[in-house]
Subunit: 160 residues, 2 copies
DNA sequence: TATTGTTATACTCTATAACTATA
DNA sequence: TATAGTTATAGAGTATAACAATA
């Protein structure tokens, strides 16, 4: 019986991960880093950030949506949403309005400039996934989408 | 032809996401927030954080691994890894050693305390996924793992 | 009393670049 | 000249709690 003295790994492929490669959180993190890296490489030059674009896009789809509901849906903390929204307002991309029936609330809409920003970048944003070569074939990609959507409790709206 | 005036959404389910629900980055973010929330709810009381545990676990599996290689494998920035490692050293969980053949480098090993920490928490950490009820059945979960592993370029080590 | 949004603070992680000591 | 790790700084995102205005 020979006991192997472990030699330190010399390259990334050498590094043992064992059960870590079966941890959902770990895999999601690696995947997200990879996706974001590709995203910035591709679209960072336009000053387009995924979180920001998502917020504007959802306001575009849901004119008059309240800040809190937007934060809840996108899983962004209310306090952070306040800062993002103020930033957008300063850039002239959104307009805020207090509705008469609840003067605590704030309804959000895109300004014409905001609509312009969204339509100018929507194609680049949404076709990004498709343009990137991935190790997954189209069928596997569709499966991955479906599983993630189910996992997070979203019914696929794009493929009804 | 009636043109519907869009009414602001009143609840999360009402919020239209359209093509956003087909964006990989968006889905990964939602999934990760969900997983991390569940993780902290479950294991936060032990001061166990996913990133930290992963680092210790990988050192445990790969004694003598260099800091840079560790950072590369876990996709943690080198500058940030320096801080994490120093923190672990201050807590007595890891030991650093400069090898003779390359005095620039630093080899990392767990101290007995570090080994104790890892073995004390490994079961809780790795069984976390399994204990959590998810909307996915076991077969779907296995599929999701396999697809994510393939996406990030990991061969499944746990199920060879 | 509870809710909507705001403010303030602190912490984590990231991004970047300049620095040291070795090679 | 290049590499391994360090330091410093700035920024994004998050977590938390206290607060004002309104319901």
């Amino acid at each position: 019986m020979t006991r192997t003295i472990p030699r330190p790994p010399a390259s990334m492929e050498d590094v043992a991960l064992d059960r870590l490669s079966g941890s959902l959180g770990f895999l999601l993190r690696l995947a997200q880093v990879q996706v974001f890296e590709a995203f910035f490489e591709d679209l960072g030059q336009y000053g387009l950030r995924p979180g920001e674009f998502s917020v504007l896009y959802v306001i575009h789809l849901n004119p008059g949506i309240r800040q809190g509901l937007l934060a809840q849906r996108l899983r962004i903390k209310r306090a952070h949403m306040t800062k993002m929204i103020r930033n957008f307002e300063e850039r002239g991309l959104i307009a805020r309005r207090t509705p008469d029936d609840d003067r605590r609330a704030i309804e959000l809409r895109l300004t014409p400039e905001g609509e312009g920003f969204v339509s100018a970048h929507a194609e680049a944003f949404f076709s990004h996934d498709a343009r990137r070569p991935t190790p997954l074939d189209p069928k596997e990609q569709a499966q991955l989408f479906a599983l993630l959507q189910k996992y997070v409790g979203l019914t696929p709206e794009t493929t009804p």
